[in-house]
């Protein structure tokens, strides 16, 4: 019968929040209130990341099935440049590290300048990554590596630039968060915003590791 189980009784809100606190939310005890009110948002963002991961996973799978479809056009060995891919990897890894520093600065309530400093460094590294990636694409285009050339290149250009697009989005979000920080100070939405952006940033780092190993290293080996 109806499982619509209703008995209006008071309950203890704090006790309940203790019980359901999500382990992924790592702001530390100093920010207990933010954790209680915002942990749903962070959990939701994790779920969104799962969904996004499916998209990348499918594009990876598609890329692998299209490896043979070069149609006589240039392949990985003609197009990829290990040096530049390595620089991009290092930039992105470094940016993940600096974002980690920013998270620590937030967690232990160090002064806001330090938080902003690390965030800005992260942003600069992200932009530098994008710059190198675009430069890479430009070189590829010059060498005949355009997506309309073959199924293989189409698969490449549907996977790698999507990651770049994500990084662009993350950078815009970072700028927006810095703006919010300037206007409202370090309030709860800004804190959880930084937390969610951190998840996205590290996620993009992991996806790039996948791209680097599978597309670049795999292609050149």
């Amino acid at each position: 019968m109806s499982q619509n189980n209703v008995i209006p009784i008071e309950h203890n809100a704090t006790q309940d929040a203790q019980k359901t606190r999500h382990p992924g939310l790592n702001l530390g005890p100093a920010h207990a209130h933010e954790e209680d009110t915002r942990e749903e948002m962070v959990f939701g963002f994790w779920v969104f990341m799962m969904s996004d991961l499916i998209i990348f996973g499918l594009l990876f799978a598609t890329y692998v099935t299209m490896l043979g479809g070069t149609a006589g056009g240039p392949g990985p060995s003609e197009l990829f440049e290990m040096k530049s891919a390595f620089i991009e990897t290092m930039l992105l890894l470094a940016s993940s590290f600096t974002f980690g520093m920013a998270s620590l600065a937030l967690k232990y309530r160090e002064d806001r300048t330090r938080l902003v400093f690390w965030l800005v460094v992260t942003l600069l590294l992200g932009v530098a990554f994008l710059f190198f990636e675009l430069k890479d694409f430009h070189t590829m285009f010059d060498n005949g590596g355009v997506p309309s050339r073959s199924g293989y290149l189409s698969a490449f250009f549907s996977l790698v630039p999507l990651h770049g697009l994500h990084v662009t989005g993350a950078c815009i979000w970072l700028v927006a968060l810095l703006g919010q920080l300037a206007v409202y100070g370090l309030d709860a939405p800004v804190k959880t915003g930084i937390l969610r952006l951190a998840i996205l940033w590290h996620f993009l780092d992991i996806v790039w590791i996948g791209i680097f190993s599978l597309v670049y290293l795999g292609g050149l080996s």
Binding site: M1, S2, Q3, N4, N5, V6, P8, H11, D16, T20, E39, E40, M41, F43, G44, V47, F48, M50, S51, D52, I54, I55, L58, L59, T62, T65, M66, G68, G69, T70, A71, G73, P147, S148, R149, S150, G151, Y152, L153, S154, A155, F157, S158
Partner: protein, 579 residues
């Protein structure tokens, strides 16, 4: 000048108007099809104008804006989803009637052009899946689920608005395609390379791509929202295994949306890259491979059918229990069966293309995996029967739909097992047998579920009960119309009649297509009965007031203000009526 025009209007020209070809070509076929297309376009334009005039005349713009369009209330968003679904349902049923009418006279000809028929089956399928079924079940879950788990709203109310907005935009795009034609003729599956630019250069496929993409984005966000809500916002003490069954199915559907929608986003996105930026993902030349599309599409498509069918399972669980005056039989078993179905639904996508030439091992493995889904589904059917067993069964309107569902759905399940057998599928794939099968799952399953839920929870939403006489008529028309319209298609499929064919040359088909055409008319009657039921219910609302509601969830003031002048305080609880 023409440069300026083309930079403003792109490739949109006068020839996009549905009556344009009629002005230049006066052959009877062109005239008939032009008149039909123009009539449809006229209905869209007039409908939009009528809505604007009506709201202005009532002076309700401000009310509409602040109480509905910008409201984050899950109940109102749910109702708006259902309104979209009902409008689109009406359009797609009318299209179905045209198709069945065409085939009823389609021996060696008929009155529709092949092009027009192609647009009809494409829009019918696209609308029914993405703009009828999805909004309908999203709306019902939106309305009911937070109330069932004692949440004041969804976890992300504004995201919920965005989901609604994206679905509304997609539905509007499909509607616009009637006025500024054409729509795709590639079917709701949009298989390349037929949908590639080289074979289909017009705007039609692009309409399809973007409408579907908007819908999938909406559904992904909705899925996230529902899942987080169910995990995080349950009332204190409501453990997972104390959740109502409908909420359980909503959870499974939400999880399927999160994982099942991205493949379609990827598929349509890559097809768009092919068409817009000259990529070669699915083209025949330059190393493209259309089989990737087929895999991506059905990696979405199969979970999708369970996204569609699980919420009705939940609804029927509530309906059977309520109208048998009895607890649901085997609550835990039902939950486990639901979870089994949700998991298995990701392991069977290949059965949609047994005929593509993969090895017998793969075909057989996927055929068996498909049959495994039959086990938990069969168990659920028996659980519902045992719920009625030793009860006190009242044949209310929701119950009539439920009984129609249980009797017809097992037949659909049987034809599903037949289709899951690769050796037999080689005979009936792409035939009307397949069409009959999935309509057999989706009409008694999904649609009856949705209509049952509408009748069941309507008093809760609006504070008055739906009129029953027209409700019964609608339900019986649906059941009879369904049987008349789709059982003949099974026969036609066995005779080898392909789906999507505008005409045929075998006189043996004729009696069956005529019978199906009559069935379509009965379904049209069912639609009219539904409209009359709504009209009569609103007219007589004061006699059917429901005062007592359910304290779960905070009722927003003005909840039912649009339909009842009474300004009812708290929506009534339908299920409480039934004990």
């Amino acid at each position: 000048m023409s440069d300026a025009m083309s930079s403003i209007f792109g490739r949109l020209g006068w020839d996009a108007l549905p009556f344009w070809s009629m002005l230049h070509d006066h052959s009877p076929m062109t005239l008939i099809n032009g008149v039909i297309a123009t009539g449809a376009a006229g209905m869209v334009v007039l409908g939009a104008l009528a809505a604007i005039v009506l709201v202005s005349w009532l002076g309700k713009w401000k009310y509409l804006w602040s109480e509905w369009l910008t409201s984050p209330d899950h109940k109102k968003i749910g109702i708006m989803f259902i309104v979209i679904a009902l409008v689109m349902l009406a359009r797609a049923i009318i299209e179905a009637v045209f198709m069945r009418a065409q085939q009823a006279v389609g021996l060696d000809g008929g009155f529709l052009t092949a092009e027009h028929f192609g647009e009809l089956f494409t829009t019918h399928g696209t609308i029914m899946v993405f703009f009828m079924a999805m909004p309908f079940l999203t709306g019902i879950i939106n309305y009911v689920m937070p109330l069932q788990i004692g949440a004041r709203d969804l976890s992300f109310p504004v995201l919920n608005q965005v989901s609604l907005g994206l679905t509304a935009a997609g539905a509007a795009l499909v509607m616009i395609s009637l006025v500024l034609a054409p729509f795709s003729t590639g079917g709701w599956t949009g298989y390349p390379p037929f949908t590639e630019l080289s074979y289909n250069p017009g705007a039609g496929v692009d309409y399809w791509i973007w409408a579907v993409t908007l819908s999938t984005l909406s559904s992904t966000l909705t899925g996230i929202n529902f899942a987080v809500t169910i995990f995080k916002k349950r009332a204190p003490g409501m453990k997972l295994f104390r959740m109502p069954l409908f909420t359980w199915t909503a959870l499974c559907t939400a999880i399927l949306m999160i994982f099942g929608m991205p493949p379609l986003t990827v598929a349509t996105g890559l097809l768009a890259l092919d068409r817009y930026l000259d990529f070669h993902m699915f083209t025949t030349d330059l190393g493209g491979n259309m089989m990737n599309y087929v895999n991506l599409f059905w990696a979405f498509g199969h979970p999708e059918v369970y996204i569609l069918i699980l919420p009705p399972f939940g609804i029927f669980s509530e309906v059977f229990a309520t109208f048998s005056g009895k607890r649901i039989y085997g609550y835990k078993i039902l939950v486990i069966a639901t979870m089994c179905i949700a998991v298995l639904s990701f392991t069977v996508w290949l059965h949609h293309f047994f005929t593509m030439g993969q090895s017998a091992h793969i075909n057989a493995a996927f055929g068996i995996a498909t049959m495994l889904i039959g086990i938990p589904t069969g168990v659920k059917v028996y659980d519902w029967m045992l719920t009625m067993y030793r009860g006190r069964i009242r044949l209310s309107v929701p119950m009539v739909y439920a009984i129609g569902f249980i009797m017809l759905f097992v037949l659909g399940g049987m034809t599903g097992i037949i289709l899951a057998t690769p050796s037999v599928d080689y005979q009936i794939h792409n035939s009307l047998f397949l069409v009959a099968h999935f309509h057999n799952m989706l009409i008694p399953g999904l649609l009856f579920g949705m209509l049952s839920a509408t009748n069941f929870w309507f008093p809760k939403a609006f504070g008055f009960r739906l009129e029953e006489r027209w409700g019964y008529r609608a339900a019986f028309c649906w059941i009879i119309g369904f049987m008349l319209a789709f059982f003949p298609l099974y026969v036609l499929g066995l005779m080898g009649m392909p789906r999507r064919s505008v005409a045929y040359f075998e006189p043996q088909y004729l009696p069956w297509t005529i019978m199906a055409g009559i069935g379509a008319l009965v379904i049209l009657c069912a639609l009219l009965c539904l409209l009359l039921q709504l009209w009569v219910s609103i007219r007589d609302r004061h006699a059917n007031n429901v005062f007592v509601g359910d304290p779960l969830g905070w009722p927003d003031a003005g909840m039912v203000g649009l339909l009842t002048a009474a300004g009812i305080q708290l929506p009534g609880a339908a299920r409480d009526l039934q004990h």
